[in-house]
C-alpha cells in the first residue's frame, strides 16, 4: 500500500503540467485571470495550489442548504473517486466552525487552512445576507411575454364582446324588477312600470339591444338610469312626464339666466324643487 502511495505521489506535478499546459475541462480562461469551475475548488481560481485535481491533499468548505461542510481529500483515497472526499459537517456557529477547521486540518499547510477559513467566512456572510433579504419585501420580477400579452389582450376583447354584458345586465335588472326587489326602493307609479316591463318583455322577445320605442319614456341609456329618473320624479311629486318636461324647460330658462351655475343636473333639481316646494 505504501508503494501505491509513492506511486501516486508522483502524480501531482505531472497532473498539473498536463492540466495547465494541456486541457482541463474546468478551466475558464479570461484575459487576465483563469478561473476554475470545479465544485471543490476553494478559491475559484486556476492555480497550482488551488487546483483540487493537482493537489493530492486538499480541503474545501462547501455549503448545502445553509449548512457548511468541510471536505477533505487525502492521497490514500486518491484511486477511488467514490470515497475521495471526506465530508465533515461544520457547526453553525462561526467561531466553533473555524475551530473545527483548525482541528481537522491541524498539521496541514497554512494555505489550505487559511483558504478554508476564508471560504467559510464568505459563506457565512452571504448566508447572513440571504436571511436579511428574506425579511425584506422584495418585488418578484415576472417577465412580460409580449406574444402572450398580445394574444390574451385580443382574446379578452373578443370574450367581452361575446359576453354581451350590457344585455346580461339589463336582463338581470329586469328580472330583479319583476321579482319585486325594487318595490321598496323605487317610488314609481305602477302603470309606468307595467308599461316599461311590457316594453322590455317585448324587447326580450324580439331580442333587440335597444328599446327605441320607449325613447319618450326612457332615455336611450340603460336602466341603470332608473334611479336618476326616480329622483326626477320625486322632485315633481306625482306629475306625469309631460308636465315635468314643461317644468324642465322652465328650469332650463331659469338656469340660463343664472350665470354662476355649472352643473345642469343639480340646477335642474334645485330651482325646480325649490319652486315646487314653495
Amino acid at each position: 500500500f505504501i508503494v501505491r502511495l509513492i506511486a501516486k505521489m508522483q502524480h501531482d506535478e505531472v497532473i498539473w503540467q498536463v492540466i495547465n499546459q494541456g486541457f482541463c475541462s474546468f478551466k475558464i480562461k479570461l484575459e487576465k485571470q483563469n478561473f476554475c469551475r470545479n465544485k471543490f475548488n476553494v478559491t475559484g481560481l486556476c492555480n497550482r495550489s488551488s487546483c483540487p485535481l493537482a493537489n493530492s491533499r486538499y480541503a474545501t468548505v462547501l455549503e448545502e442548504k445553509g449548512i457548511c461542510y468541510l471536505y477533505i481529500k487525502t492521497i490514500e483515497r486518491a484511486h477511488s473517486p467514490k470515497n475521495l472526499w471526506e465530508k465533515i459537517k461544520l457547526r453553525r456557529n462561526y467561531a466553533t466552525a473555524l475551530k473545527q477547521i483548525s482541528d481537522h486540518l491541524q498539521y496541514w499547510p497554512n494555505f489550505n487552512v487559511h483558504k478554508c477559513k476564508q471560504r467559510l467566512t464568505k459563506i457565512h456572510q452571504y448566508l447572513i445576507r440571504m436571511r436579511k433579504l428574506k425579511l425584506k419585501v422584495r418585488p418578484k420580477l415576472v417577465g412580460i411575454h409580449k406574444k402572450v400579452e398580445r394574444r390574451e389582450k385580443v382574446r379578452e376583447a373578443k370574450a367581452e364582446k361575446a359576453a354581451r354584458l350590457e344585455n346580461a345586465i339589463k336582463n338581470e335588472l329586469v328580472e330583479r324588477l319583476k321579482q319585486g326587489m325594487y318595490d321598496e326602493v323605487v317610488n314609481f307609479p305602477q302603470q309606468v312600470w307595467q308599461k316599461a316591463l311590457d316594453g322590455v318583455e317585448g324587447e326580450m322577445d324580439e331580442d333587440r339591444d335597444q328599446g327605441e320605442e320607449y325613447d319618450d319614456v326612457y332615455d336611450e341609456e340603460d336602466e341603470d338610469e332608473e334611479e336618476e329618473e326616480s329622483e326626477f320624479v320625486e322632485a315633481y311629486d306625482e306629475d306625469i312626464m309631460g308636465s315635468d318636461i314643461e317644468d324642465y324647460e322652465d328650469a332650463f330658462a331659469a338656469m340660463q339666466q343664472d350665470d354662476d351655475d355649472d352643473d345642469d343636473d343639480d340646477d335642474d333639481d334645485e330651482p325646480t324643487s325649490k319652486k315646487k316646494k314653495t
Binding site: 498536463v18 492540466i19 494541456g22 484511486h79
Partner: protein, 397 residues
C-alpha cells in the same frame, strides 16, 4: 520506488460489488507525456482522411486565347468564337467568372502522415497511464465522481453481456452510467456543413470499454451513447486520447487488464506478445518539488542568498508625517509658525502655545539656529535620561 511490490487494483462484479484484486500492470506507470500524445494524435488523425479535390478540368473547358495587345482590353485569355454572350469573356484565370480557382486542390495532396512506430506506442502507453489517474480523467470531463476505483476493472462476465439493457444495468451498478447520461445530453446537431453531409449529430465521448475477447459484449454495449469498444490487442490512440487530450475513462475486463502485461511488458523487459519495450520513466519519482524540499537535499543546499531589501511602500511626505519628518524635520515647526502667524493676523485666540512662540517667520535664519540648538539640547537630555534609565534597572538587578 521499488519495482518489487506492485499496487493492487480491485476487480468489480457487474453488479458493482468488489471482489478479488489484480496487480497493476506497469503500463500505468509509464511516463505521461501529453506533448507526445498530442503530436502522435495529430499525425495519426490525418490517416483516415479521404481525398477531396476540384475537378481536374474545371475552368478549362474552353478554347480561350488571349487577344494580345492593341485591342484596348486586358490581356486575359478570352473565349473564342461568337454568337453567344460567352464569347469574348475572360476565361481560365482565377479572377474570371467561370475560370479555374486559385491553386486548384489536387488529389495528390499529402493526406496521410507517418509516425514512428515507437512513438505511436509511447503515446499509447502515456494515454493508458493517464487513464489510471482519476484527476486527469476528471479534467478531461468524464463524470466519474461515484466510480468505485480507477482504473476500473470488471469481471470477465462483462464480455458476455450481449443485451443493451443488461449492459446499461451493469454500467449503472458501477456508477459509470452518469458518464453515458452526460453524453446523451450533449447530443446535438453538428455545427457547419457536415450536418448535410451525413454527419448530422455530434456527441461527447463516454467510457471506453476494453475487452480481451468479444463474447457478445460488443453487441451489448455498442449502442450505448458515447461508449467506445476496443480489444486489448488493438488499442487506438485516437480512442484513448480523443482530441489529443489525455485521460479517457476506461472500463477494463479482468482478462484485458491482465493481458496488458503481454502487450506492453514490464519496465526493462520486452513484452511477450510483441517486440516492444516500454519507455521507462526518466525520473523514478516525478514529484520534483517534494524531492527538492526533502531533508536529504535541503541539507546540502547552500543557504539562500540575502535578497535585496524591498523598497517598501513609498509614502507621499505631504500626507505622511513620518516621511516628511525624515526629509524635513523643520517642516512641522514651520507649519506651526505659519498657522500662528495667520491666527495672529486674524486676531484669533488659539492655544496659549501659539502666542508663546514668536511667529517671526522673517527671522528664519536665526530661528533655525535656535531650533538646532534646541535639538542638540534635547538630544543631550534624552541621552542623560537613557543613561539614568540604564543605571536604574542595573541597580535594581
Amino acid at each position: 520506488m521499488s519495482g518489487s511490490a506492485r499496487p493492487l487494483v480491485g476487480v468489480y462484479s457487474i453488479t458493482g460489488e468488489s471482489g478479488n484484486q489484480v496487480k497493476l500492470p506497469d503500463v500505468f506507470r509509464a511516463p505521461v507525456r501529453h506533448d507526445i500524445v498530442n503530436f502522435v494524435h495529430t499525425q495519426v488523425c490525418k490517416n483516415a482522411r479521404i481525398p477531396y479535390a476540384v475537378c481536374r478540368r474545371a475552368g478549362h473547358r474552353t478554347s480561350a486565347e488571349s487577344w494580345g495587345t492593341g485591342r484596348a482590353v486586358s490581356r486575359i485569355p478570352r473565349v473564342a468564337g461568337g454568337g453567344t454572350s460567352r464569347s469574348g469573356q475572360g476565361a481560365f484565370g482565377n479572377m474570371c467568372r467561370g475560370g479555374h480557382m486559385f491553386s486548384p486542390t489536387k488529389v495528390f495532396r499529402r493526406w496521410h502522415r507517418r509516425c514512428n512506430k515507437n512513438m505511436r506506442r509511447y503515446a499509447v502507453c502515456s494515454a493508458l497511464a493517464a487513464s489510471a489517474v482519476p484527476a486527469l480523467v476528471m479534467a478531461r470531463g468524464h463524470q466519474i465522481r461515484d466510480v468505485p476505483e480507477i482504473p476500473l476493472v470488471v469481471s470477465n462476465k462483462i464480455q458476455g453481456i450481449n443485451k443493451t439493457k443488461a449492459a446499461k444495468l451493469a454500467l449503472t451498478a458501477l456508477n459509470a452510467s452518469t458518464d453515458t447520461d452526460k453524453v446523451k445530453a450533449t447530443k446535438k446537431v453538428r455545427v457547419g456543413k457536415g450536418k448535410r453531409r451525413n454527419r448530422r449529430y455530434v456527441m461527447k465521448k463516454g467510457p471506453m470499454i476494453v475487452f480481451a475477447k468479444n463474447q457478445g459484449g460488443f453487441q451489448g454495449f455498442r449502442n450505448l451513447p458515447g461508449v467506445t469498444l476496443a480489444k486489448v490487442s488493438a488499442l487506438n490512440i485516437l480512442e484513448l486520447a480523443p482530441g489529443g487530450h489525455l485521460g479517457r475513462f476506461i472500463i477494463w475486463s479482468e482478462d484485458a487488464f491482465t493481458a496488458l502485461k503481454d502487450y506492453f511488458g514490464v519496465f526493462g523487459k520486452e513484452a511477450s506478445a510483441r517486440k516492444y519495450k516500454m519507455p521507462t520513466p526518466l525520473i523514478k519519482n516525478s514529484d520534483v518539488t517534494s524531492i527538492i524540499n526533502s531533508k536529504a537535499i535541503q541539507a546540502i543546499t547552500r543557504p539562500q542568498k540575502s535578497k535585496k531589501p524591498k523598497k517598501g511602500v513609498s509614502h507621499n511626505p505631504l500626507r505622511h508625517n513620518p516621511t516628511m519628518f525624515k526629509l524635513r524635520p523643520y517642516e512641522f515647526q514651520r507649519r506651526r509658525m505659519v498657522a500662528a502667524a495667520i491666527a495672529c493676523r486674524r486676531g484669533l485666540e488659539k492655544n496659549g502655545q501659539l502666542f508663546k512662540q514668536k511667529p517671526k517667520v522673517k527671522k528664519y535664519p536665526m530661528k533655525k539656529k535656535a531650533y538646532r540648538a534646541q535639538l542638540k539640547s534635547k538630544a543631550k537630555a534624552a541621552k542623560d535620561a537613557k543613561a539614568k534609565a540604564a543605571k536604574a534597572p542595573a541597580k535594581k538587578k
